[in-house]
């Protein structure tokens, strides 16, 4: 094969993954943003907006669905792409064996990151090791260059053996580090290299119908898995063949393992990922001192290069192997890399000491000294066979605090009484409720002017007595509990954002049970779940189900219209037409393509006791609704309260203008204020009656993210938006007038 023309770029691992994907011209990318893999979809969306990429990008509401979209697209004979990290991979995990077991190729990029909890967004290998048993091929790239190369080869490998492939690389260290990279200059060269895909099976051929995913008993299931095993064995050869072809094209060569100065090494260090470079520096320094050592990394994690590792050890005359694991298989005496290296040596009949150290968890830096100390272990006699590389030191200083009393009693500034005409709220005045003790201490790290805590404080002002809070993952959670600090003066629990409502249900049930059994005193606690609109995407099913069960909680949503915590990707609540990191504005794209989700109506349709929308621009109304929500949560069932919440950073407006922006959303009926109480709708603020109603464009032009819509070319989008807003408003009016609606 002739050498192909190449160009030089200075880009990150994520950008290289996206670059390869564009050249491969995948049909579909089903995705859900998660740090640090997010930029891959973001970059592809930039190119989509400008018209240089025609991959269908489908933003799922969670990774599980993203994996489903990918599976569906692959059974249709498409070339399919996805990217994820950490808990995203785990959330999609059950779909991975479906993909491999039914033998549909695709490529998934994993920017490796530590698995929660506790929540940490930085890099390690605790996520990727969960994928070892899924039947996917796993390639590992150490540098942005390798991310590109692995991606271009992965699709060809996948289609050759009919197995899906993961391209893994280190989150942040590789995903975000920019380096010089060579890419194939012409897309045709990439196309010629990967060849046309002729799917052997497709669900899109009515002339030749097939059944995909039949129910299977033993012994057929065993036969299916044996075939998968055979494909994995075959992959060992196929991968190398494809890489060799790639070398002919680009000059860059890859093998299952890569070694540095392993010749006549007494000590061999085995690592995975970006640490390999640092270890090379360490090897150079130790070799200069006369210590014969080398380092080895893997480019192929599945199928595992057992033969290659053993052969290298035998050839080099290695006397001790040190394995650095960036995760732990707790209780097994090593991370998964250690266990597999040990098995490889044992299988080859090599009896070598293997010393294992866990390092670099949760993004902990792996410096030169760390690499040297790993290598030195191999020269040490009596080093324990397993341990953690650095045992954290004790914090200096004595007992901290206390700084506050817990908030258990409140002054009774707001009361709700049940009357024959319905619930009546007394008190709840803006001035008086300044005396409500704050359940949060100041000091949280939200951006200046952030709406989350404005809204949370307004809600809590109307809620008397003891509260327990549960936050789903999101900005509000991250900035209020940066370990070892917390803003909360009341009990607080976090869980990942597809599962908050269920977690709180469990907490409520155990509260009632333990009260019943006399283990906890009588009394009332109000349980409040706090979520962003992102959490109401991925966690919608869970939240609706808790509502259907009548779980007695307040579910409070702060809707800032985007996944702000990960750098503002579109959410289902982002306004149509809005610019976001996954809905760019360009020649071919006007921003987000579909309307904002009407979550209050979805919750109302679930038949829960109380649904209300609130806005900081109408604080007295806000506080009264909070009080009603508490009444329902404490007496009968679920209350859902939703606030439109300002995000100065990503809305692109000034913090001190936010209350006016929110007021414009309310006055334009983009965010109408109403409540649905036991199925009866009531408008609590009618901008028409107050002759304050404004066109929705007046709201949209107050934010940088939607300001472009005022241009003539977007008139149609604005008209559609106005129509949708009007229709939703009119339907609310009708419901308010007719009790049966």
């Amino acid at each position: 094969m002739r050498k192909a023309e190449q160009t030089t770029l200075f880009e990150s691992g994520n950008e290289m993954a996206a670059y390869a994907a564009r050249q491969i011209r995948y049909h579909v990318m089903g995705y859900y943003p998660i740090t640090p893999s997010t930029q891959i979809a973001e970059q592809l969306d930039v190119w989509r907006a400008e018209g240089s990429c025609d991959i269908a990008m489908i933003p799922a509401e969670g990774e599980h669905s993203a994996a489903g979209i990918c599976y569906g697209a692959s059974v249709g004979g498409g070339r399919v792409f996805n990217a994820t990290s950490a808990n995203g991979l785990l959330y999609a995990l059950e779909q991975l064996p479906v993909q491999s077991g039914t033998r549909f190729p695709m490529v998934l990029n994993v920017a490796c990151r530590t698995v929660s909890g506790p929540l940490d967004i930085k890099g390690d290998h605790s996520d990727i090791m969960f994928a070892l048993n899924t039947g996917w091929i796993i390639l590992f790239a150490n540098t942005p260059q390798q991310v590109y190369d692995m991606n271009v080869t992965a699709i060809k490998i996948a289609e050759s053996v009919r197995l899906p492939v993961i391209v893994a690389f280190d989150g942040f260290f590789t995903s975000h580090q920019k380096q010089r990279c060579q890419v194939l200059a012409n897309e045709e060269d990439v196309q010629r290299f990967i060849g046309a895909y002729r799917p052997p099976v497709t669900a899109l051929d009515p002339e030749h119908p097939v059944t995909i995913g039949a129910y299977m008993n033993e012994p057929d299931l065993g036969a299916n898995k044996y075939q998968l095993h055979q494909a994995m064995e075959e992959a060992k050869t196929v991968i190398q063949t494809v890489w060799d072809e790639f070398q002919a094209l680009t000059g860059r060569s890859y093998h299952a393992i890569e070694a540095y100065r392993a010749e006549q090494a007494d000590v061999l260090l085995v690592l995975l990922g970006s640490s390999y470079g640092t270890a090379q520096e360490a090897v150079d320094q130790l070799r200069a001192q006369g210590k014969r050592c080398g380092v080895l990394c893997l480019h192929r994690l599945r199928p595992f290069p057992a033969l290659e590792i053993a052969a290298l050890c035998r050839e080099a005359g290695v006397r001790a192997v040190v394995v650095g694991d960036r995760q732990d298989s707790y209780g097994a005496g090593g991370g998964n890399l250690t266990l597999e290296v040990k098995a490889a040596l044992q299988t080859a009949g090599l009896s070598l000491p293997v010393i294992s150290r866990v390092y670099g968890l949760g993004g902990q830096d792996f410096g030169l000294e760390d690499a040297k100390s790993l290598l030195e272990l191999g020269f040490t006699t009596n080093a324990p066979s397993f341990g953690y590389l650095s045992v954290p030191k004790k914090k200096s200083g004595g007992q901290e605090g206390p700084y506050f009393h817990p908030v258990t009693e409140t002054p009774g500034l707001t009361q709700v009484v049940s009357t024959p005409q319905g619930l009546q709220v007394k008190g709840g005045l803006v001035r008086e409720t300044t005396l409500m003790p704050k359940r949060l201490a100041p000091g949280h790290g939200a951006c200046p002017g952030c709406g989350i805590f404005v809204n949370l404080n307004l809600l809590l002002r109307g809620i008397e007595g003891c509260v327990v809070l549960l936050f789903q993952t999101g900005c509000g959670m991250v900035v209020s509990t940066p370990y070892p600090q917390t803003a909360f003066k009341v009990p607080y629990v976090h869980n990942l954002f597809q599962n908050g409502a269920a977690t709180l249900s469990g907490l409520i049930e155990v509260y009632r049970q333990r009260q019943k059994r006399g283990e906890l005193p009588e009394g009332e606690i109000t349980f409040i779940m706090v979520s962003g609109d992102g959490g109401m995407d991925i966690g919608m099913g869970c939240a609706l189900s808790a509502g259907l069960r009548g779980s007695r909680m307040i579910l409070f949503e702060y809707d800032n219209g985007g996944y702000m915590n990960t750098g503002y990707q579109l959410s289902y609540s982002t306004p149509k037409g809005a610019r976001s990191a996954t809905s760019h504005v360009g020649a071919r794209q006007y921003g987000k393509a579909f309307f904002h989700k009407d979550m209050p109506q979805l919750m109302a349709a679930a038949g829960i006791d109380y649904v209300a929308t609130v806005a900081e621009s109408n604080p007295a109304d806000f506080i009264r609704k909070a009080a009603k929500a508490q009444y329902y949560a404490n007496h009968s069932g679920m209350a859902y309260v939703k606030a439109l919440s300002a995000c100065p950073l990503n809305w692109g407006d000034k913090p001190n203008q936010e209350r006016k922006v929110i007021a414009a959303a309310v006055d334009s009926c983009y965010f109408p204020l109403y409540e649905v109480e036991k199925g009866i709708t009531r408008l609590t603020y009618d901008p028409e009656a107050k002759q304050a109603k404004i066109p929705v464009l007046r709201f949209l032009t107050k934010m940088g993210r939607t300001k472009h819509l005022q241009k003539e070319e977007y008139a149609k989008v604005v008209a559609e938006m106005q129509q949708e807003v009007d229709w939703r408003w009119q339907r609310l009016q009708a419901r308010a007038e007719h009790a049966h609606l």
Binding site: G277, V430, H444, P448, C475
Partner: protein, 344 residues
């Protein structure tokens, strides 16, 4: 292409730079451009990256750049501890954060500030990037890019122009001329050679670690986030309280995200007694909602002694080990680079 030799490198052969900034000033992009400059316009090995993630105690943004001789691979990916050039994008960082850590006698220190403060290290070189950016309708990061590139003593103005034209020029052609002016302004301010005088050296701080953390990461000290002093989040403005005008309506408290207003029981209902400035981020939401101008926006510099400053009233101790902190919104995408705010 300009070809250069690196005059000084560290033990491993790298020439290293570190940029310290707060979000929105474009340090991340500046770092990327410096990396690209090395790799694509100077023929060097190069890499750059930013410190993403939730910065609990540090500044919101750091950017790192490594250069090495042509043909050598950048094999290290850890943060830069001992930079050859240290760029400080906002002078307020110097008082709040340990941004000078790891400075050696070889470090060129470039600070964006109107003038030099006495307590700053002798080798500090001052660039009024804010003013220059305004004059040339450019951005702070462009001026700093010019200044930092000059401080390396390796980069010609031509290489910088080429870089800017190829990168930003393609994305924002309308801004090219003003950005080149901005870069040149920064380039002209800094001397190619380091200033004379005794250089200050700052030790690297050891990270805080734990051995006996509570099992499962549970935090038992309620509200201990109160130890964060958020003053560094302010961008020069504070709300000033005029009690004589105040009608104690409570709207300020209803709009404050940071629990700054200290209301207490008065003779005729709740009264506003003062502001907890240690936790005020200067967003000025309160000024915008106050119906009677009892809160006005003033420049913090002109009010070093803030009248009616009052610590949080629900604290049960005066013994609080305050530490400087800032907004710790975490960025993992380019959203901040492309941030466009509507000014009203």
């Amino acid at each position: 292409m300009q070809r250069v030799d690196l005059p000084i490198v560290n033990d491993l052969g790298y020439y290293e730079m570190r940029l310290e900034s707060i979000g929105g000033l474009g340090a991340n992009l500046c770092g990327k451009l410096l990396g690209e400059l090395g790799a694509m316009y100077l023929g060097l090995g190069a890499a750059s990256f930013a410190s993403y993630g939730s910065e609990k105690r540090g500044s919101p943004v750091k950017s790192y750049i490594r250069w090495c001789r042509p043909g050598k691979e950048v094999r290290i990916n850890s943060p830069v501890h001992h930079p050859h050039v240290l760029g400080i994008f906002h002078e307020a960082l110097l008082d709040s954060y340990p941004v000078l850590q790891g400075m050696t006698e070889h470090t060129r220190l470039i600070i964006n500030a109107p003038c030099k403060q006495k307590h700053w290290p002798a080798q500090a070189e001052i660039v009024d990037a804010g003013a220059l950016a305004m004059r040339y309708k450019s951005r702070v990061n462009m001026v700093m890019l010019g200044a930092i590139a000059k401080a390396t003593g390796l980069v010609s103005l031509e290489s910088l122009k080429e870089l800017i034209s190829h990168t930003l020029g393609q994305r924002y052609p309308a801004l090219l001329a003003s950005n080149i002016k901005g870069v040149r302004a920064g380039y002209d301010v800094v001397d190619e050679r380091a200033p004379k005088g005794d250089a200050a050296v700052y030790e690297s701080e050891k990270p805080r670690r734990y051995e006996e953390a509570a099992t499962g990461g549970v935090i038992t000290c309620i509200g201990n986030i109160v130890t964060h002093d958020l003053s560094a989040s302010r961008e020069g403005w504070i709300p000033l309280f005029h009690p004589d005008r105040c009608i104690h309506c409570g709207l300020c408290d209803s709009t404050c995200p940071d629990m700054v207003f200290q209301f207490a029981v008065g003779e005729q209902g709740p009264v506003n007694r003062g502001l907890d400035y240690q936790h005020c981020k200067g967003c000025l939401r309160c000024v915008a909602v106050c119906p009677v101008q009892a809160l006005t926006a003033v420049k913090e510099r002109e009010w070093p002694e803030k009248p009616y400053a009052l610590p949080n009233q629900s604290l049960i101790t005066a013994d609080i080990p305050m530490e400087a902190s800032g907004a710790n919104s975490w960025m993992s995408s380019e959203a901040q680079e492309t941030e466009r705010r509507i000014e009203e």
